[in-house]
């Protein structure tokens, strides 16, 4: 019973929050609502016994992602009202609604399955984090490592893209200009801007 109440409560809250996120014209509201929504989602994880995931959700999303976005918002100066030109707002909502209705129509049906054996059964005897760790470092070791590389890629990408070297485009410069620029840069300290 508690579970049900919690579910409905948080469901309502997340839906409201996310709706605000996508509908408001205030960037700050949107960001805040999203952060709130993320936190509420972690509540589901806790309800569902995925404590580790809940923790990660809060740390990664509300901690890292939100911080990044907040930084970005400041950078882009979007704290004020965001003016967006809308075309066919109704169409968008209808399309989204239709998608929801259709998916819901299908997922309302009970899942009938004969295969009840879980591949990695949940072991209630140990803590969620421990169990997760167990699966993560056996079966999902490779994905885990690759995810790490992926994060590295993302990091490099972020650094490279946001770096100062991007300010001047060699692509758009004629050869003479590049030569000139290099000649100048030897005098100054600007060796390379990527790092």
């Amino acid at each position: 019973m508690f579970e049900a109440v919690a579910f409905y409560l948080f469901a309502a809250l997340t839906i409201v929050m996310f709706t605000i996120t996508v509908m408001t014209s205030q960037a700050l509201y949107a960001l805040t609502a999203m952060a709130a929504g993320m936190i509420f989602i972690s509540a589901f994880f806790f309800i569902l016994g995925a404590d580790f995931l809940g923790a990660i959700q809060i740390i990664v999303y509300t901690g890292a992602v939100m911080a990044l976005y907040a930084f970005g918002m400041m950078f882009f100066d979007t704290t004020r009202n965001v003016i967006e030109k809308r075309n066919n707002p109704r169409f968008v909502v209808i399309l989204g609604g239709l998608a929801a209705v259709l998916v819901v129509l299908i997922v309302l049906a009970p899942i009938v399955t004969t295969d009840l054996n879980a591949h990695y059964p949940i072991d209630t005897s140990v803590g969620n984090s421990q169990a997760i760790g167990m699966v993560l470092f056996t079966k999902y070791l490779v994905p885990f490592e690759v995810a790490a590389v992926m994060l590295l890629v993302a990091m490099i990408a972020g650094i490279v893209l946001a770096g100062k070297k991007m300010d001047k485009s060699l692509t758009l410069m004629a050869d003479e200009e590049i030569a000139l620029m290099h000649a100048l840069s030897h005098d100054t300290t600007e060796e390379k801007g990527g790092h």
Partner: protein, 101 residues
């Protein structure tokens, strides 16, 4: 009333749809990225729920990796936005129509 997997799936679907609306509606790229986060979060709810009802860790694993992916996407996405912003001073996607046809 007992909660079933379907409840969560419906929730997941609704959240996903909200995300879709956001993706379609937003012109401000930063806020558009918010919507994509919603999409992934919606899936995470579903994953965790299935994991729970199936008694299987795979779903949680999946959700875990999805979070990782979401995080990396933010990094790259913001990087792209920054260069774009530096170049044009705007992050409105309506400004971004130099290629068409």
């Amino acid at each position: 009333m007992e909660l079933t997997l379907n409840h969560y799936l419906v929730l997941s679907a609704v959240l996903f749809a909200i995300g879709l609306i956001g993706v379609m509606r937003r012109k401000n790229l930063l806020m558009l990225f918010f919507a994509t986060e919603i999409l992934l979060n919606a899936v995470n709810v579903g994953m965790a729920a299935i994991s729970h009802y199936r008694g299987d860790y795979t779903g949680q694993m999946f959700a875990f990796f999805i979070i990782a992916i979401a995080a990396s996407e933010v990094a790259v996405g913001l990087g792209l936005l920054i260069v774009w912003y530096k170049r044009t001073g705007k992050i409105d996607l309506d400004q971004m129509t130099s290629m068409r046809g």
